[in-house]
Amino acid sequence: MAHFPAPLNTAAMPKSAYRAKVWKRIWSMRILYLMLLPGVAYYIIYKYIPMYGVLIAFKDYDILSGIVRSPWADPWYKHFQFFFESPYFSQLLTNTFLISLYKTIWGTIPAIGVALLIHEGRSLWLNRIVQTLSYMPHFLSYVIIYGIAIAFLSETSGLVNRWVVEAGGNGIPFLTSTAYFRSVLVGTDVWKDLGWGAIIYLAAMSSIDATLYEAARIDGAGRLRRIWHVTLPGIRSVIILLLVLKVGSALDAGFEQIYIMYNLQVMPVADIIDTWVFRVGLEQLNFSLATAVGLFKSLIGLVLIFLSNKLARRWGGNLW
């Protein structure tokens, strides 16, 4: 029992006695703090020291001098200004937003459709098999996804292009043409999460009050009408909530996927903030500029997260 005394009654105590009591309490819980130590050390070293490292966005970082001794940038916003005035700025921002938007739209609609299918499926064993199979692609890495994309879409050896050539057409450079690449990105991403994305809608559907279906049936509504008037309205709040939360990650267009799949030819339509930061930072070793752009992205992301959480909370009263 010694470990957990009752909550402190702070009002009746002088300050020094209070402090002594707190320390005593901390000391009595030293084992807990010892258990907390590795985790806190991890967070400080790998999460908080990098936040301090953001300083180099305002300096002309020199590898030999280190963070502290590198000279301040002149003016302090030099790297930000360079980025804002560069031709990349609008292109990167457009690509990032567009790819992220397309993925959200084309990811949401099929997932709801899949959830409806499974919800309406009356054969339990078929449902189980379909669920197992359709969740699986979610766990494949984007390297694997890229391999599959090559198998189907490669200009010379891809299955689709074999058919196109056989039908008398010319091979279509899906993976290397600006006209198709974004669709390939979105398409492969949708395939990967087709089933997985449905899970949450499925859960929402199964929590709809069964008496609503009963009432609709008595009123003479067929299956389609019940879907339209009971199921879909029943998950509307979940759909809205998920879309609102997506706002918070609007600048995350899928760094991993794009980095793995893009190439020089499609750079104009596929280069996003993250891939640019990676190249400028780790390939060209322009640490300060890359950090500045990364910071710009993080700050906007922070604002977006607050915005989306606020919206979600405002509409959230009757959400769950």
């Binding site: 029992m1 470990h3 819980m29 084992i31 258990m35 907390l36 590795p38 985790g39 806190v40 967070y43 790998y46 020291i49 990098p50 301090y52 490292g53 180099i56 299918l117 309406e120 499926g121 098999i129 197992t132 699986m136 692609p137 766990f139 494949l140 890495s141 390297v143 694997i144 890229y146 391999g147 090559i150 198998a151 490669s154 200009e155 010379t156 050896s157 891809g158 299955l159 074999r162 058919w163 993976l175 395939w191 087709l194 089933g195 997985w196 899970i199 949450i200 003479g220 067929g222 299956r223 939360l245 930061v277 930072g281 780790l282 890359a290 950090t291 993080s298 992301g301 922070l302 997260i305």
Partner: protein
Amino acid sequence: MVSHGNERYFDYFINILLILLAVISVFPLLYVFAVSITPYSEVLRNGGFVLIPRRITFEAYKALFGMDAIPRAFLVTSFVTVMNTLINLVLTVLMAYTLSRKHLVGRSFFIFLIVFTMMFGGGLIPTYLVVKGTGLLNTIWAMIIPGAMSTWNVLVVKTFFESLPEELFESGRIDGAGEFTVLLRLALPLSIPVLMTIGLFCVVGSWNTFFSAVYYITDPGLNPLQVIIRGLLLSSEQMEYNADIVLPTTTLQMASVVAASLPVIVVYPFVQKHLTKGMLIGAVKG
């Protein structure tokens, strides 16, 4: 009124769409597998489409595992997967248990400390500098330590510990057990399902390790599987593009894709239940 017959046709229709969905999910991988075991001459003869090849060959796999890099990469990835999962679980449990103790002085401060990192981070380069500064650059630990914890996992396990009845912990303390013993003997055995879930996500995540290697590893001997496979896919894709001829490496590429995804595919059906649960924990909290 909708007649009973109509309802039956509706069921047929739904079932057909469901089967179609299953086919869409599986077909691409089956095709990749088929290409990997088909002699290339036959692929060409059939206009590229082979789902059930007449002759099969495992030459591509032989060639694949004959390459020095592949078995090595399997070893690297396996080591990273095991270590990353173990470290992740231990650190997560320790932190989650502590933060679930309501009387802990400074509890809300520590919770804020970890939650804030979900919203803001130093970014690529500052993190790179820390990894470099802690001497991990170009060691296998660069793929393990920097990603050793996830705030999300800590919160999930913490919520689970909080849901356990307080009397359980009290009874342990009355018996004179210290915090660590309570965690080990009482809380842990009850939390095996939730640890299973986050552990499995960790396993899949580390099996797919790619970026930490791209960032922090330049020694080719330390490259994990995904990096090697991408190299294979990329090199010949470019050769193809330049020389305008199909190299028989397509078969090799597809074999590498199968080899890298096989462990996930084989294990997945048995653990699917735990993984789906993880998605829903996330959904309810998120």
